[in-house]
Each structure stands twice: as structure tokens, then as C-alpha cells.
Symmetry: C2
Subunit: 385 residues, 2 copies
């Protein structure tokens, strides 16, 4: 049992720092008097804490406005959180493309850069494309690599807590890859590795279709389908990081793979070829009979997978994404069928983040990491609302 | 933003009370000196808190042992938590049976009582059987109704946060029943209502097959199948309380209901007749060909449902229960098939709590409620480990 009363001066200092930082981050800038009022701390405590934060570079004194300086002999000093004191990267390592997105410590996006990669590229080539995308993005934004505070990276596959890809059949040489360790060689800051659908769920909650929901399933409806879930606003990874890997489910009920379902010929589509998929959806919309039948088969499969997730988890909202085009045709059938089969059907929405969804989620995970460091004590105290 | 420093005397007193109660509950009895050492509180604080707890009846001074009294002029006073200061009930409202289990404040079971009820009984009759079981149990145990501190009750169906059965097709007149409110008329203490599979998951985690796991799916493999999940040791109810209601899933992949799957004739079994099910399992074990085929069909269906849950949630452990007999025959096929389809197959175990599993879980939910009241502040402080 821990000691619950009495004083640990360094813990108290950390709590107070956190409280002040939190207050400053929620506003443009504030005077010491304002901080004292908002935080409930004493004036001397606030003065000490702010001085310490200025020392770390996370807080800076704003130059007094000319007008204010003239009106009063000595204007109140104003302080602000320096979002530019550090930077974050979100990385999406996909089958056809690698993407890097850069932000400041407030998560404000400063730039994005994608590079194509062939789906058959070996792991080394794929990682090299990613490194080159990152280098170009940092150079264009004029941000030093040493300014990075955290990097989030997302890829298909089951990702272990140590950043190793436990199973990843969607990308060549991916299973067993120590992705976290490999990426860490390029950065001096922490690297957080996550499954792509999990990252996408986080992104939708942050700035997509799920900003008002804490219980969300994101379905990455690609040819290597997966899902990510938030429960009570937190990512549900599962015991072994495999939660939501529903791609295997169709093996149980039926034999067809999505490549076969979506084919308009006797041959299945090339694996992971999302361009071919887009064409089938377009064909169905033009009225092509075979394309229409293919899309219907695919939607039936999607309904089955999503229903399994919904029955297991009972989310408030299901967000469908992962492809740029075509998915809107699946929305109505999905809503209709879920209402038939689910005891409490969830809302169903399309992703609003498009192709950026996975990189955006990876960026948010990096931001979460930094915020947890900065605001750890605060979260502890308010964990139970 | 809340005020994080400074003193709230009543909160501090409550924290200290909680700490002392927690320490006393973890031991048989303790002296003030021992409490002071374990809690890190000052001697005068401990004295004041213990005096207050004695006043509430939750703590009592132990009579000094004869020997100890003689050896020293004035032996140290010893105090203990009075588990008998209050009582708890766990209720299982099933299709064929209602069960009540009684415990003290430590969750030690003092008695159990079941009454049969016909599956077609209207809600009023079912509740009356339950009331009569409770009255008889309290009378036999010599426990006054006024001593009850909390009641947990579990039944099939989707149970809303307000204790109303949102959907319950397994029991007549169950959908829409304000079960919590109805039960509350018989008790002056809080009544917590929960889905039966959810309660069973809690029971397995408390004292069944899942005591060493925090990520568990319990599959109630009855004719009205359902599942309950613990994620990180906490019950996952879902946004609308419908999580794990996988009974609907087979509607998607196939048309057969379990009553039809398990039939050895052209007619399905009577709905919810678990005795008929037990006979089919026994027949299969004796080598009856039609019974064997029926069990195989049922296991195939079970595998499909469980696989959907496992792919969605990725638990560490799946516990199968809900029937007294036959399920052990399903265990090996289930393990084999899950290993084929799941990327990270979980362990699979049989319930060790038998028919008591749901009532035991309901009791634990009542105990959780009381502990949350007694130890609320403690949980707040240690919520983030």
C-alpha cells in the first residue's frame, strides 16, 4: 500500500508544473495573475513554476504590446506555451505508399509528404522510401531532426508492445520485422509503432467522424481488411495486439477472399491492388452488371465482418474508411443489414480523413506520448471522473 | 480545471479512513502501531480514524487474549474489519431456475438457494419465485434484510444502465421490464442489474478459471448464447449494454438456430430446454450417430461465434460455461479451430463454477459496489498504475 498523505516535494512540484502547463496550453497567453486564478496555486508557487518552464523552453514570455507598455509604467508580463518548442511525426507505411506528416507540439500539421512504393518492394526498400520521405519533409519545413519529440508509425499487421510486427502478411518481409527498433535508428526521440487500423481509429476520434464518440469501431475496408476500436476513448489493442483483425473471419463462414469477391472476371483481382478496386466501384456506379454484382458480393462480406465486430463490442459508431473512392456505395446496405442483425445497431459513418487517416492517427499517437510525459500527473489525478 | 493542491479536510479524512480500512481488511486484526506503520499515517490520525470506523460498525476492537493480558500490564488494543457488519446478495434469474446467494462484506458465501421456475412463467411469477428464494435464504442464514448493503442481479437480455431490460427474448415479458426498479422495492440497499453472461465473466475472474487473467471472454454456451468480456480486468458492457450478444451472429452466416443444430430428429429441440441438450451430449458420448452429428453441428456454430469474439477483442483467455454437462466435448474442437482461424489464438478453458457462475458474478458486482463506496478515494488515487 502506498503512502497517500504527507508531502513529496518533487512530486508536488511536478503536479504544479503540469497544472500551469495545462492552463497555458488552453489559452493563447496569460499573466501570472491569470494563472494564479485559474490554477488555484499561490502567487509565489506560480512564479517559481513558470520560471522553471521558461528554463525548459516549453514556455516563453511574450513581448509586451507597444500600446500596453505606454499606458502603464510596467505592464503585466504575459507567458505562452511554445508549441514550436518541439515537433512530432506521424508515419503511414502502406502497400503502395509511404506517408509522413509533421506537426508542432499542439498537433498543428506543418506539412505532409508521400512517396509511392511498389507493393512487392522488400522491407529494406520500403523503409528507405520512408526515410527519404521524412528527410525531404523536414528539409522543406525547415525543422531540425533534433527538434522531434516523438514519432508515431503505423503499418498493417499485428504489432507487439515492443514495436515488432508479430504477423504482417500484407507487406513483403513484414512478419517478424523489428519495426520500432529499425525506425529508432533514424530518430533520437521515442518511436511508437501501431497497427494501421488502430491508428486510423485514433485519427477519427481526434479530427474525423468520431470526435463526439468514445466508443468507436473503425473499419479499414481494404483488401487486407482490419479494424481498430476505441473503448471509452482509449485504443483497445487486445491482449496480444490482434484485436480487430477480422480479415480471418470470412475464412469461417465462406471461402471467398475480397480479391475474388470484387473481381468481374473469373480471375481474382491482384492482391492489395486498390486501383483495380476503385475501377470496379466506378463500373458498378456506371451500371456495369458484373461490376455491380462484384460490389454486392463485397458489401455482403463487409456486413458480415462489421456485424461480428458490432455484436462483440457494441460501439456507438462505426466509421468505414481506407479507400478514397467507392465506399459510399457500401454505406446504405451496411446500415440496413446492421439494423437487421444487431440488437442495438450503431451509427455508421464514412471516414472524413481520406487517405491521410492512418498517418494522422500515427501523429496523434506521438502527440499522446508527449502529452503523457508533460501531463502525466494531471491524468493520474483526474483518471476517475 | 480543479484545484489540485491545498487541503480539503473532509476529503483528507475520507482518504485516511479508506487507507486504514483497506489495511485492516487485508489482515486478520492489527494494533494501532501496526496500522500506523503500514499506512504511513501519524499515530493521532490513526487513532482518530479507527475511532470513527468503530463508530460506523465497520471496525471492532478485538477482545484481548487471556495470555497476552496476563503477560503485560496493558496489552496493545487490536482492531479488525467486521465483515459481518453487512451482507450482500447475488441473484441469477434464469429460464428454468432462480438462484440467490448470500455473503458477508468479504464476499464469503454464507448460503445459496435455488427454486425451479417454468420457462413459460410470466415475469410476475418469475420475480415472485425470486422474492421467495431470497426470503427463505435470509431466514435460514439468520440474516436480517436490513443488513443487506447491496444486491447484484443478473438475467438474460440487454440491460440498460438504469436496470431496465432493453431486449430480452429468452424470458417471457422480459423486454422493457424495469428490473432494477422492481427489485428495489424488496430492498432498501442499492440493486445492480447486469446481463447474465457479463456477470458470469466477472465470476470467472473472481474465483473461476480466469483469476489470473484481465482480458477474458466468457461464452455462455446456452440455447440463448451470449458472451461477457473483461478488458483490463473491467467489464466491457458496450455503448448500449449489448456487447457480446453474439446470438444474432449465426443469422448472418447460416440460418440454423442452436435448437435445430442440436436436434437428433427433424424437429428442433424445445427452445431453452437445457435438459434436452444434456441428453443429446450424453447420447453423443455413448456413440449415438445422430447425437454425434448434432453435437458436431453445434460445435461448428460455437466455433464461429467464439472466433468472431476473439478476432474482435483478442482476449488472453476464453472461458466456456453455462451448462453443467457436455461442454467438455466442445473444448478440443474449439481449441483446434481457433488455432486455425485466429492470428493469435487465446487459451480456452471450461468454467469451474458450474451452475453457480451467474449468481456468483452478480454477488461480486454487489461486492464491487460496496467496495467502491468504501474505497472510492483509494481507487481514485491508484487508478493509474
Amino acid at each position: 500500500m502506498g503512502r497517500l498523505t504527507g508531502g513529496d516535494p518533487s512530486l508536488l512540484r511536478r503536479i504544479n508544473s503540469t497544472v500551469v502547463l495545462h492552463a497555458l496550453r488552453a489559452t493563447d497567453c496569460a499573466t501570472l495573475t491569470e494563472i494564479t486564478r485559474v490554477t488555484g496555486l499561490s502567487r509565489p508557487t506560480v512564479e517559481g513554476v513558470v520560471e522553471g518552464l521558461v528554463g525548459t523552453g516549453l514556455v516563453v514570455e511574450q513581448a509586451a504590446e507597444e500600446g500596453a507598455a505606454r499606458r502603464q509604467g510596467r505592464p503585466a508580463r504575459r507567458f505562452r506555451f511554445r508549441a514550436e518548442a518541439g515537433h512530432l511525426l506521424g508515419l503511414d507505411i502502406g502497400a503502395h505508399r509511404v506517408t509522413a506528416v509533421l506537426s508542432d507540439l499542439d498537433g498543428r500539421v506543418l506539412g505532409t509528404l508521400s512517396k509511392d512504393v511498389t507493393e512487392t518492394a522488400p522491407a529494406e526498400i520500403r523503409l528507405e522510401r520512408l526515410r527519404s520521405a521524412v528527410a525531404e519533409l523536414l528539409r522543406r519545413a525547415g525543422v531540425a531532426r533534433s527538434s522531434l519529440r516523438a514519432v508515431g508509425a503505423a503499418s498493417p499487421g499485428i504489432v507487439g508492445a515492443d514495436g515488432t510486427v508479430r504477423l504482417g502478411t500484407a507487406l513483403p518481409q513484414w512478419t517478424g520485422l523489428r519495426l520500432g527498433e529499425r525506425l529508432s535508428r533514424s530518430f533520437r526521440c521515442p518511436v511508437i509503432v501501431e497497427n494501421d487500423a488502430n491508428a486510423a481509429a485514433v485519427a477519427e476520434h481526434w479530427k474525423g467522424s468520431a470526435t463526439d464518440c468514445d466508443d468507436v469501431v473503425f473499419v479499414l475496408a481494404g483488401l487486407s481488411p482490419g479494424a481498430g476500436s476505441l473503448i471509452g476513448g482509449r485504443l483497445h489493442r487486445g491482449y496480444g495486439g490482434a484485436a480487430g483483425e477480422i480479415g480471418a473471419l470470412h475464412l469461417l463462414g465462406r471461402e471467398a477472399k475480397p480479391e475474388a469477391l470484387l473481381s468481374t472476371t473469373d480471375e481474382p483481382l491482384p492482391p492489395l491492388d486498390e486501383r483495380a478496386v476503385t475501377e470496379v466501384f466506378a463500373g458498378a456506379r456506371r451500371g456495369d452488371r458484373r461490376a455491380r454484382a462484384a460490389v454486392d458480393r463485397f458489401v455482403e462480406r463487409l456486413v458480415h465482418d462489421v456485424a461480428a465486430l458490432v455484436l462483440a463490442l457494441d460501439p456507438e459508431l462505426v466509421v468505414i474508411g481506407g479507400w478514397a473512392a467507392g465506399l459510399e456505395d457500401a454505406l446504405e446496405p451496411l446500415r440496413r443489414e446492421l439494423a437487421r442483425y444487431c440488437l442495438r445497431p450503431p451509427r455508421v459513418a464514412l471516414s472524413t480523413l481520406g487517405e491521410a487517416v492512418v498517418a494522422t492517427g500515427a501523429l496523434r499517437l506521438a502527440l499522446d506520448h508527449v502529452e503523457e510525459e508533460l501531463f502525466a500527473v494531471e491524468s493520474t489525478v483526474t483518471a476517475r471522473r
